[in-house]
């Protein structure tokens, strides 16, 4: 059975179903990260002392990662724009760059985590590190998830471009919305954890 409203617009909503679905999913994601941000605020305001992030964490590495993730958001939106222009080969270059930049982000995070573990700094060490590892760990899982979906559209999922280019373009747009959300979360995590 064919999935309805993947390409055509529903009259009542003015949208295709995939667009509504991804926004509902992102709404649930806002609440997920919101709960953890609320926990951070409550733990911090409830404690008698709280360390500045830059006394424990590596700000230059995190700044580099911020630049990497923002760049990946641009390559993602350019991948979609390339499909809108009908340029599939350009799409592949931008999408590959997006996946690669996601990989760079994870490698940098690996070095950050390794350094902390080497210094005997674990989630159990104190509340600051507990919330740091929880928030950045959950965010990393989202980066991995986004990379997996983007890699699928770069590889086997790209076959759809031959048979239904508009549907494929819509799917890449929806994948992009998730990727931009991951970037948006990092934009708030970076100052909250590293700079304040």
């Amino acid at each position: 059975m064919e999935i309805p409203y993947t390409v055509e617009i529903r009259r009542d909503t003015g949208l295709n179903n995939g667009k509504i679905a991804i926004w509902l999913f992102l709404a649930s994601e806002v609440m997920l990260f919101g709960a953890l941000f609320a926990s951070y605020i409550l733990i911090r305001t409830g404690s008698t002392s709280w360390p500045r992030g830059d006394t424990i964490l590596n700000v230059p590495l995190a700044t580099f990662n911020t630049i990497v993730l923002i760049s990946s958001s641009v390559t993602m939106v350019m991948a979609w724009a390339s499909l809108m222009r009908g340029r599939f080969n350009t799409f592949r270059v931008y999408m590959a760059s997006t996946v690669l930049l996601g990989g760079v982000f994870l490698v940098v995070k690996y070095f950050e985590y390794s350094h902390k573990f080497h210094d005997d700094l674990f989630p159990r060490t104190n509340n600051f590190l507990a919330i740091y590892f929880t928030l950045t760990g959950l965010h990393m899982l989202h980066v991995i998830g986004g990379m997996a979906v983007n890699a699928y559209f770069l590889g086997p999922g790209a076959k759809l471009w031959k048979t239904n280019p508009v549907w494929f373009t819509n799917r890449v747009e929806h994948s992009g919305l998730f990727w931009h959300f991951v970037d948006l979360v990092w934009i708030f995590l970076f100052p909250t954890l590293y700079l304040l």
Partner: protein, 113 residues
């Protein structure tokens, strides 16, 4: 893989291409702005401002950056009403989630019942 033109239901191919070109220029402008604001965020943190001011400034800059990503990369600046409705509901619950628990905190300490 052959090259296809992805078209929408609303515009002709010529108008469409011009529209996407305009979008691409906006994406590049937003990218440069985000990079500049990232540098501003780090630079401000070097001043070691008092915590309430530092938090306010950092969150203000982060909100501007987040809004740019949401409005332009996620196309929220020109989205349909249903998406805005979903997000309005999300924001309402998010505010409750963040601020209501803070009512139990007074002068930096928990109010214990």
């Amino acid at each position: 893989m052959s090259e296809h033109a992805a078209t929408t239901q609303h515009s002709g191919a010529g108008d469409h291409a011009v529209d996407i070109d305009r979008h691409v220029r906006i994406y590049i402008t937003v990218f440069v702005t985000l990079m500049a604001l990232t540098i501003v965020t780090v630079a401000i943190s070097r001043f070691h401002l008092p915590v309430p001011i530092a938090v306010s400034v950092a969150l203000l800059v982060a909100t501007i950056k987040g809004s740019l990503v949401a409005c332009y990369f996620m196309h929220l600046i020109s989205e349909k009403k249903l998406i805005y409705a979903v997000l309005a509901l999300t924001v309402a619950f998010f505010i409750v989630l963040i601020f209501v628990p803070l009512l139990t905190v007074h002068d930096g300490y928990w109010i214990r019942g």
